[in-house]
Amino acid sequence: VRRRDLVAHLRSLEQIFAETTVAPCSFGTVLESRAAVERDFLAPRRKELAELLDRLEGKVQMNVKAEYEEESVMRAIVSEDAEVVRVRERARALGAAGHYENIRLGELVAANLAARRARDADHIAETLGATATDVVAEPAAAEGLGVFKGYFLVARESLPAFDDALEQLAGEPLRIDSFGPLPPTAFAGLDRS
């Protein structure tokens, strides 16, 4: 499987999605023949699929990724965390000999980041969720500068409100990437676990 296969799958979905409601299949789903699709998939699950299509009608998926901009978040941490300030001074004074102080400093920063991330991720999910029908949030990475990754199912007419919410959330030190409108891949599972 190559990158172009993945992209082709997505582009096909997007083209169909541009014209009608679609319940996307997971990438890599293969059935033997057109007849098999009807016999083994469509026929036995007709009712479920119809309900799913009803639920997805008029909705789009917005993918949202938020992360901290390194310099501004570090600045914010230093300006509010006395322990970080103290250890930082000590590490600087020690210079090259401050290896352990630096490890300690990094740990303090990581702990502050984790608390901040938890707060901000909740805020993002709540603010964007208010304009959406449904939301799936991916578990946050425990390290690094990532804050939130999630998928929102949004009614087309609510897109301006969703966009306003994005606009309101993004800003120092929070950088937000949004993709969409996309076909509702994260909301098509019949049993979402």
């Binding site: 997971s26 322990e83 400093l105 990094g106 303090l108 098509a188």
Partner: protein
């Protein structure tokens, strides 16, 4: 949508992802799963996502953060000094991290940690 001049440097919008990681986010393990039917092998892809999801809590990460904080020129920061900040909150938040620090500080472990 209203055509307004949006001027937020911190927000990027794209109708569709083009980066591999973002494409994978949209279609891999998402969507209808047809139980018990053939799925073609996506071993290569799965490795990519697993790699991306692996959490490496290591000394290297801490050192990277330390470096980032050390790079800041504090004179530009609005006057946070040890004196004018309470430390209570910071201490409770960092308690867990300190346990890790203890390990890292134990003599003899340094070489091992560094070689990761």
């Amino acid at each position: 949508m209203a055509v307004a001049t949006r001027n937020n440097d911190y927000l990027q919008r794209a109708p569709s992802p083009s980066g591999l990681a973002d494409v994978i986010d949209v279609i891999l393990d998402k969507g209808l799963v047809i139980d018990a039917f053939v799925r073609i092998s996506v071993i290569g892809i799965e490795l990519v996502t697993i790699d991306a999801r692996i959490v490496i809590a290591s000394v290297d990460t801490y050192l990277r953060f330390a470096e980032a904080v050390n790079r800041l020129d504090l004179s530009e920061t609005n006057g946070a000094t040890i004196e004018d900040l309470g430390e209570k909150g910071a201490e409770s938040e960092t308690k867990g991290a300190l346990e890790g620090a203890k390990d890292a500080l134990t003599p003899g472990k340094r070489q091992k940690e560094k070689s990761r």
